[in-house]
Symmetry: C2
Amino acid sequence: MAINGVTTTPLSIIDTKGGDVLHAMKTSDQGYSGFGEAYFSTIEPKAIKGWKRHTQMILNLVVPIGSVRFILYDDRENQDHINQFQEVILSIADGYARLTVPPMIWVGFQGLGRQTSLVLNIANIEHSPEEIERKELDEIKFNWSKY
Amino acid sequence: MAINGVTTTPLSIIDTKGGDVLHAMKTSDQGYSGFGEAYFSTIEPKAIKGWKRHTQMILNLVVPIGSVRFILYDDRENQDHINQFQEVILSIADGYARLTVPPMIWVGFQGLGRQTSLVLNIANIEHSPEEIERKELDEIKFNWSKY
């Protein structure tokens, strides 16, 4: 089941001579919520980064190179749901798409590519340490060993 | 000599466990001129794409993977200068940086990486065919054979 507010949006790839064009984000796209900063994260094969959540930033994640497994964990207090995990794998082979993550969702991610994978985050606000919360990997119980 | 309006801005790379964080563009960066669209172009080794110019779009180009040679050509009529070329190579090894190209500059680019290279363009407006002009590679005389 999808976590409330988390969406994946298919993106186009345009085949051109000498290389492709891969869409990432337009202001007219559904779900666009402003631009604050764009930055890349690289993730080595099998490496896991986590856990981190933003109290204000909306993440828009795109993986143009490699393959990345995102584990989202929702522990927001809400009478409508219980704590839940959601797994999303982004790669061109899995169907090129953008993953939108609202604030207050814990995010961990793992490199599934044979080489370094690349994640672009197009965020609605600029990076600020004041709106980031962190937990050690073992502070949220999740079995990462599938890959 | 640099073409009037073309700038390169050094960008930070933050080393983190399991992979790096690479800055691309923030709204507070010098030279930020609005967000319209972000998209990737891939370029195969030795492939050349060109020539294209935008009559309105400001390009902000970042190369997080591989190495790309950009050839910029300015034929704007201006009593202060003659037609001129400028070469900029973007890669992490060459010093990770953002290349800003104003409208009305012809752009060609060549993949210098051993594998596919990746270019991110963070543009001030959305892509529109109506503000794009194209020329065949041989319509602007440039000797690409150095690489």
